[in-house]
Symmetry: C2
Amino acid sequence: MSNSKLYKGSLTTIILKLLNESDKMYGYEITQKVKELTKGELKITEGALYPALHKLEAEGLLNVEVKKVGNRLRKYYNITESGTKESSNKLNELANYIATMQALVNPKFSLE
Amino acid sequence: MSNSKLYKGSLTTIILKLLNESDKMYGYEITQKVKELTKGELKITEGALYPALHKLEAEGLLNVEVKKVGNRLRKYYNITESGTKESSNKLNELANYIATMQALVNPKFSLE
DNA sequence: TATTATGCATAAGAAAATTATGTATAATTG
DNA sequence: CAATTATACATAATTTTCTTATGCATAATA
């Protein structure tokens, strides 16, 4: 299977990219950052985000550290070495997907 | 709900776009056209394509016409008026999604 | 003659989201 | 000061959309 798949896993890419750029982030912070960067265009729902974070942690791409801030808990995630590699893979996949879709939709962007 | 969703329905967009540009196409032809335009990057599977075509027809976005070619059947689909409108919507959604992802992934492409 | 290409289809299962809840604390607003 | 909104986590039920597997049949090619 050498061909790329139809892209449907944007969320993982977003999470890995953001965590690859910052020291650590917690879930709620990610939702706010995405809202800010996309001017409200994209809203990460909690029902999607938290399971995704748990999965990435289980796969060893993220580490988690619980911190008590005031009287509330925060789970800070930071990216692991293999998470960094996967982040790079996912970003390449995304760039490839975008190029592919542009070739389909706009003949001007034909693939070489 | 004014915000765009995470993009996961590329196939419908592809089908509507191709049919909006040609008089009529049949399923197998669509798979080949996509393969050609994307230099093999994207392969539409039949398990995804045929149900998608049936759904678009049920929604009134496509019309179907069965033709016998040689000794075999082909189902030619052509786009309806509302299909053309939906095609335009889907293409806008896609362009918007791409811009959003680029803003997330590459700060250079910040949304104005 | 066997494999590959053409042409349709559906069913089972997986993946990844939405929507709906639930719990709890902190801050703001009327 | 009471009610709402924001912060912060979580899970369950459901839906959507895909992959993989299978089935049937004809035409072309090796």
